[in-house]
Symmetry: C2
């Protein structure tokens, strides 16, 4: 198909498609004349993937470019890809003041060991989670480490579900895309389901809507 | 304390504090002269909360202002607060094309009923999750509804843990703040723990790092 039809079928404007082509996020079409090219379903699919990561996943164009270049590099492995995708989706907050931060990182890594997880103490998510812990404590939330501990075994079930989803893919290309889509859209699934589970649990525990009077009883 | 000390202890610049005061996100200090005011620990705490929501939670100033005005309104109840906080943290993507969207919303609501959750079919997270489902399907991920279904009972445990955290608060003010902090920082906890659980599960299933050759075996 011509670029016009690619635009129509994907809902992405022609100048935006040209931009993705220049940035290498979309492979070039098959040249049919000096200024015309033909595109196929693989281009349409790639465009939809780019828009899903940006519009639904909330990623920046730069983050998407990084992920796609890892997917496209023949020498990259699952670990490379997982790390690139995970980082793109998790903007790491500015770490807290050095002392509080490094002792919190130790507490988080101890917790990871307690959970029996095979994870490096240098994993960027250990640092990010430690920053969250320090922040909660600065607000007087002393119970926050217990809150994180309670989440641990629950999130382990999510990790297992994620990997089951990934290994259910039929081809290596599908598998790599399942990592990308599962991680990025999976975060949205998790967050939206959390909202619904909270709403349901709140309705159960505070049947009257929970006005301040009833809360202080 | 004077505004200078408040700035020093909170790490927030004086002009930013003045901006928060003008916007009503921080209550006025006790006036001690026509152009001086005194602040106390409640101001320091509020400033830390604002920065936590912005820096760690990734919320916009407008979203934080909306949450705080709900927290501060004496007539607002738990349901109001939960809805305001939940929406602030979950930017709802542009819904998909009408037909696909409304049938996906029905599928998601059927799933919610299957889970036994007490949630309105009009809940904004039903719409948001339906959009994610439509997006995944447009990428050919036919198994995505099963992926969401698998997440359901796991996220129910998260909802229960969240409400346990909230009701563990000692006062009504603490409880309202626990909703805010638990929801916003809880999303970060959930996402970072998911990264760690995935990394651990990947290391277990693909011990060699998972190069493409071994993946296609």
């Amino acid at each position: 198909m011509r670029i016009g039809e690619l635009s129509k079928r994907s809902g992405v404007a022609v100048p935006t498609i040209k931009y993705y082509l220049r940035e290498g996020m979309l492979p070039p079409g098959e040249r049919t004349s000096p200024n015309q090219a033909r595109y196929d379903d693989t281009h349409l699919h790639r465009l939809r993937l780019v828009r899903a990561l940006i519009d639904v996943g909330g990623l920046s164009v730069a983050a998407v470019r990084g992920i796609l270049s890892t997917v496209d590099a023949p020498e990259s492995d699952m670990e490379d890809l997982l790390k690139t995708v995970q980082k793109a989706v998790l903007p790491v907050p500015e770490p807290a003041a050095v002392d509080a931060q490094s002792s919190a990182e130790k507490e988080i890594h101890d917790l990871v060991i307690e959970l029996g997880w095979d994870v490096s103490p240098k994993h960027f998510a250990v640092e990010a989670l430690a920053t969250v812990l320090v922040t909660a404590r600065s607000l007087g939330h002393d119970r926050f480490l217990d809150f994180i501990r309670r989440y641990g075994p629950i999130m382990q079930q999510i990790g297992v579900a994620d990997l089951d989803y990934v290994v259910g893919a039929r081809t290596v290309d599908d598998l790599l895309e399942a990592v990308v889509v599962g991680t990025v859209l999976g975060d949205s699934v998790m967050i939206t389901l959390r909202r619904l589970a909270q709403a349901s649990e709140t309705a159960t525990r505070f049947p009257g809507g929970g006005d301040r009077q009833s809360l202080s009883d």
